[in-house]
């Protein structure tokens, strides 16, 4: 198989496994098995566990950037922000099982004192800056970044509690509350 295709397959499976089982709990053998290649082949593409983690983070950064771009198709900032809020519903099943991929990875890497922790947090930064842009467009000026961080935090909390209790009712109620909050924030500045 061509280099890029195998690499991409490895990254894809590693991405899933890191999310579903955690970074530390996922071994080279696990990834190789999932892809269906030998550990030797795996090592030819990624020469250390740090390398594959880096690649997965790159992948997530790119995927997030693409998603944010797609949300830009909406003209209204409040509609864009609504798209963000609704990932909690879109990915409901996986979030209830494994939490938020961004939050859980940064948390794990913080505990491991891993150098890639800050890079993993850059996914948050993509969301933060994009959300801040939307709040800015809604006329919130200097408050925009705070509002963005507030919304990110709310989402993270919902993901943590929804997965702790595997409680769909809670998740839906909190998403509704978040939508109400967004309403308050947008109408206040009209």
């Amino acid at each position: 198989m061509t280099r890029t295709k195998t690499r991409d397959l490895i990254e894809q499976k590693a991405d899933d496994l890191f999310y579903e089982n955690g970074f530390e709990a996922t071994s080279f053998a696990d990834i190789a098995d999932a892809v269906g290649i030998s550990r030797g082949n795996f090592y030819h593409h990624f020469k250390s566990k740090h390398d594959i983690l880096d690649a997965v983070i790159d992948r997530r950064l790119a995927k997030t950037a693409r998603m944010l771009e797609s949300w830009d198709a909406d003209k209204l900032p409040q509609a864009r922000i609504l798209s963000f809020i609704r990932i909690l519903l879109t990915n409901q099943t996986r979030i209830m099982a494994f939490g938020c991929p961004v939050g859980t990875l940064t948390t794990e890497l913080a505990k491991l004192d891993h150098v890639a922790q800050s890079r993993a947090a850059e996914v948050f930064t993509l969301f933060r800056d994009w959300l801040a842009d939307q709040f800015h467009a809604l006329g919130h000026g200097d408050e925009s970044v705070s509002l963005a961080l507030h919304l990110l935090g709310r989402s993270q909390g919902i993901a943590v509690m929804a997965s702790a209790y595997r409680d769909e009712t809670y998740l839906r109620a909190e998403v509704a509350a978040l939508e109400d909050w967004l309403d308050t924030v947008t109408t206040k500045h009209r």
Copy 2:
């Protein structure tokens, strides 16, 4: 040394290490080294990793129950809830470094598909029920549990974001916002 004292010391160090480095990343050797005993001795007190995890969860449940009892010394429900909100400030340094002990453990155990996940989430339940009692005393009736879960989720989100960015300013701003929210919730029903 007496049985209970050694056991207690092991539980104490394991509790810290599970919090600081994660459950999976903490080995028997790590705990034994931290306590200053041999692995053999360790194994005499806890015959499996599942056992020591169970003991740590028991310990956290008991510690949480004691903390909630101590907060009951305050007569006003809003003052009690304020005590809960302010753990984010009391444990600020550790939360910014390692996140919330309850949230991060339940999240990790969910990914590991560990049987103890639901037991670990019982610490949340202690907080939830206690908080619901306070909201009930404030006259929120059927909404009490939802309010309790909402507050728990908000706290969890703050812990996740504060540790991801190690941002004290964010943490303090969000705690202030939570106090404002509490004000709104208490004055609405006066």
